[in-house]
């Protein structure tokens, strides 16, 4: 179990993490997701014990490991957590087996015990034949596996991942997602995973915390986030493709939603928007931007004056640059947000 209570971290006058509180049960896979600079890596480093919080506390399994108010933190190695760095941070002068072995050696384990454990985790990661290679002699995906093997070898109760897949190519990234989940289950540890890629968050997490400017925008399961985004930021950040937000005064005059004095922004899901062949009183005319096939349907995007609309719809469309696209909004929005981005 991880419990974070009113956690803040300040660097000089810049507050990277602002008053974050959340709790996940043991065995969960929590993803911290947000745009770059949102404070997610600082969060992870505080969890790892590499940074001390300015305020607030962190508890692992009921035991306080960092206390910003008391200004102390338990050393990284003594908090039962392991970390995979974005750069993997493999020690280039040690072999693959050496990299996995060294933390066990530091922990004071016996030779035979270490050898068994190294073999075990290399097997678990499917890299048992790479033990004698140096990190510069193996591929990026293999380096990634070594970094994970090194982390799990001492059997930490908490696994921390700092954007571990960002250096891999697209195909490998998809493979490693399920690989990571398999490892997570095999170790029955609690995982915290930092990424800026909402697809990773949606596909892997049991719990997602969406961070923006140091604050938690929303904390919940992936389906909750997509179904009930609590802010305009979350609405446009999660989902593939993410939902559309339209200012109330941009709704076409002939549309039923125009009735009444609505303000704020309305959320429409791409699958609820349709594309019509010609202009109509209720349609929005936009410049064609792009079209791509998506699981047997078409994803069409248009832009106009900073507004961007994406529709996922059936039908065979032919557009080229310079064409106009006419989008038809559904009768009801999926959600409404006020001008500050709060759900109403």
């Amino acid at each position: 179990m991880i419990r974070i209570n009113s956690l803040s971290r300040r660097f000089g006058s810049f507050e990277a993490v602002k008053n974050v509180s959340l709790e996940v049960p043991a065995g969960s896979f929590m993803v911290l997701v947000g745009p770059s600079g949102c404070g997610k890596s600082t969060m992870l480093r505080m969890l790892a014990g590499l940074e001390t919080p300015t305020r607030g506390t962190i508890e692992f399994n009921g035991k306080t490991v960092s206390d910003g108010d008391g200004n102390w933190t338990i050393e990284p190695a003594k908090r039962n957590a392991g970390l995979v760095f974005q750069s993997y941070a493999l020690w280039p002068h040690m072999t693959v087996a050496g990299n996995v072995d060294w933390p066990l050696k530091v922990a004071g384990q016996g030779k035979q015990e270490r050898a068994d454990r190294v073999r075990e985790v290399l097997n678990l990661l499917g890299i048992e034949n790479l033990g004698n290679r140096f990190p510069n002699e193996i591929s990026g995906g293999q380096q990634q596996r070594v970094a994970i093997a090194r982390m799990i070898a001492p059997r930490p109760g908490i696994l921390l991942f700092d954007e571990p897949l960002s250096n891999l190519d697209a195909k490998l990234r998809v493979e490693m997602r399920s690989e990571l989940l398999r490892i997570h289950r095999a170790t029955s540890a609690t995982s915290v995973y930092v990424t800026h890629d909402q697809v990773e968050a949606m596909t892997m997490a049991s719990h997602v915390a969406v961070l923006n400017e140091g604050r938690i925008e929303q904390f919940g399961s992936p389906s909750e986030l997509v179904a009930e985004p609590s802010s305009a930021f979350v609405a446009t950040f999660v989902g593939t493709p993410p939902a559309n937000l339209v200012d109330a005064d941009l709704i076409p005059p002939g549309h039923p939603l125009r009735k009444g004095n609505r303000t704020g922004r309305l959320m429409f899901r791409p699958e609820d928007i349709s594309v019509c062949s010609g202009p109509g009183p209720a349609s929005i005319e936009m410049d064609f931007a792009e079209i791509s096939p998506l699981a047997g349907r078409s994803m069409i995007t248009g832009t106009k004056n900073g507004l961007r609309l994406t529709a996922v719809t059936d039908g065979d469309f032919r557009f080229s640059v310079g064409d106009k696209v006419h989008f038809l909004l559904p009768l009801q929005p999926a959600a409404c947000f006020d001008n500050e981005g709060k759900r109403v």
């Binding site: 200004n71 102390w72 933190t73 190695a77 933390p103 922990a107």
Partner: protein, 581 residues
């Protein structure tokens, strides 16, 4: 929570990170750099030295003590800086920007003179141009039957020429690095604008490299005013004094208070000009960052002047690298320096004592003084290589790890101070501090330890720079991932940082070794007969009229330097199998 009260093992208080290691680094740096300098300053204002400042600056003696040597020193400083910038800049331009033939060879040769100790070049000059003015052997030129005028044999002119021949490679190194960053697009844009070659040089190239030129000028100035060996060997015999030689003389005859005052004044002269140079540059924007892709740089076409310019460049390089070494070598084999290339034998190397030659001095192979000096010199080089590496790493680690703290800022400033202090003045400060014991520290004068400490302090700016480069190389992630395993600082240093940094450390330690075994100015005051060093022995022999011994010893120094370089290169390539691709 109860655990809050118990402070279990493994909990780190975060409020004062690394205070112990910071204080340790500050303590070392203070002891090495600040204390000796403060001590020498305090001494000149103590009762023992009452009136010394007045004596040196404003009495009837002061022209001889200070103002005369100051004039010579400034003249040498400015003329050397001008000469070095012109010659070094000219060669740098040829190598970096033109289509001169054998560019790489010239580029390599132009960096070599700085590797040869300046006393070697001065000794070589003496072997060639000595005349009978001060008695003793005459040089090769007089031996051939030509009369060498006094001005060419002794005093200002030869001192200046040898200093320029030695330090121009420093200016070359600085300027060629700046020229190499000039994007050929800059030059091509000027060509498209219709500018002629001279206009491009004056309007584009020179302004862009001006900071480097100023840096080269102030560095060579400071080096020239700090140099002891060259004016001592070529100027002192005709009583031409610089601040460095005057300081040496004062300490030598026991006038330590005057010597210390001169040391402080010498530091001021050197530091003020380095500071001025730095100020001139630091206001300017750095142009070096404006690069982009750059592509293959297009070179100035020298046309018909290609080979004449090559000849000039080659002659400069040849005269300042190969000629001095050949002369030294030949002179150590020739019985008489007036006939360098005849009757070669090995007497000065392996000869037994023979009353007919050099007042019965045996060759260096049978000379116990020289043999023990060789052992002590090499030992000193090794010891200092180890201590500087350790101190440099520690300080660089503290500076990298705890950037924003007052202590770090103080450490940073202190480590740069030795750059401003001429070696001989540093030596004087060390005598002032350790000549007599203080506190728990016993008197260290004449001990090996004092030489090690002084050399460590003297090379601190260099070793910290090496340490920083090394620490940057080992990225933060690698160390943090080791920290995650629970390994302590020392263990991480030994298992992660050190192996990764071995290459950088080895080359840094090697350069320190070579710098120390060929240094004269720092050790010339700290030397005692019980603790002889090769460079000081060479200087002694030369000033007592045995140039061949001096030359033979200098050849030994050169051979050790070169061997050390080759050895380390070999060692490096074998020690890191994980770097092979």
């Amino acid at each position: 929570m109860t655990s809050n009260l118990l402070w279990p093992r493994g909990r780190a208080l975060a409020g004062r990170p690394g205070i112990a290691i910071k204080l340790a680094a500050l303590g070392i740096v203070t002891l090495l750099v600040a204390l000796p300098l403060l001590k020498i300053l305090a001494f000149t204002f103590s009762d023992e030295a009452t009136g010394t400042w007045h004596e040196v600056l404003f009495s009837r003696l002061s022209y001889n003590l200070f103002w005369g040597p100051l004039q010579n020193t400034m003249l040498l400083g400015f003329a050397t800086a001008a000469g070095c910038v012109i010659i070094g800049g000219f060669l740098a331009w040829l190598v970096a920007m033109t289509d001169i033939p054998f560019r790489r060879t010239i580029g390599l040769m132009a960096t070599l003179p700085f590797m040869i100790p300046s006393f070697a070049t001065a000794l070589a000059w003496g072997s060639l141009f000595r005349n009978s003015r001060v008695g003793g052997h005459v040089g090769f030129i007089e031996g051939l039957g030509f009369a060498v005028p006094d001005w060419l044999a002794w005093g200002m002119a030869p001192t200046l020429i040898v200093l320029i021949a030695h330090y121009y490679s420093l200016a070359f190194t600085v300027i060629v690095a700046a020229l190499a960053t000039i994007n050929s697009d800059l030059v091509e844009a000027a060509q498209l604008a219709g500018a002629r070659r001279s206009r491009i040089l004056a309007g584009i190239v020179l302004p862009v490299v001006l900071p480097a030129v100023v840096a080269a000028g102030s560095l060579t100035f400071a080096s020239a005013v700090s140099n002891f060996a060259v004016p001592a060997l070529l100027g002192l015999p005709v009583r031409m004094q610089t601040l460095a030689t005057r300081l040496f003389g004062m300490i030598g005859i026991g006038q330590t208070a005057r010597g210390y005052v001169l040391a402080i004044l010498l530091i001021l002269v050197s530091a003020v000009f380095l500071w001025l140079g730095n100020r001139m540059i630091s206001g300017r924007r750095s142009y070096a960052t404006v690069t982009g892709k750059g592509g293959r740089s297009k070179r100035f076409q020298l046309g018909a002047s290609r080979y004449p310019l090559f000849a000039v460049a080659f002659v400069i390089c040849f005269l300042t690298t190969i000629v001095p070494v050949v002369i030294l070598f030949a002179s150590s084999l020739a019985p008489s320096s007036s006939a360098l290339f005849s009757d070669w034998n090995l007497h000065y190397w392996i000869g037994r004592s023979n009353a007919a030659i050099a007042q019965g001095q045996p060759g260096i192979w049978h000379n116990p003084g020289i043999l023990s000096a060789t052992a002590i010199t090499v030992g000193l080089g090794v010891a200092v290589a180890i201590t500087t590496t350790a101190v440099g790493l520690l300080v660089a680690f503290v500076l990298a790890r705890y950037r924003d703290s007052i202590i770090s800022a103080a450490i940073n400033q202190l480590t740069l101070v030795p750059l401003l202090v001429p070696g001989i003045a540093f030596g004087a400060a060390y005598i002032a501090l350790f000549g007599a014991g203080f506190g728990p520290v016993p008197a260290l004068y004449g001990t090996f330890i004092l030489l090690v400490i002084a050399a460590t302090a003297y090379l601190l700016p260099f070793s910290v720079q090496t340490g920083r480069a090394v620490i940057q190389q080992v990225s933060g992630d690698l160390d943090e991932s080791a920290r995650m395993t629970g390994a302590g600082t020392l263990r991480r240093l030994a298992a992660i940082t050190m192996p990764l940094a071995a290459r950088g450390l080895a080359s840094g330690a090697l350069i320190v070794f070579v710098k120390i075994i060929r240094d004269l100015s720092l050790v010339v005051l700290l030397f005692t007969p019980a603790m002889p060093l090769l460079s000081v022995l060479a200087y002694r022999y030369a000033s007592e009229g045995f140039p061949q011994f001096a030359n033979a010893i200098t050849v030994v120094v050169l051979v050790i330097s070169i061997a050390a370089t080759l050895f380390a290169n070999r060692l490096q390539s074998k020690s890191q199998p994980w770097l092979k691709d």
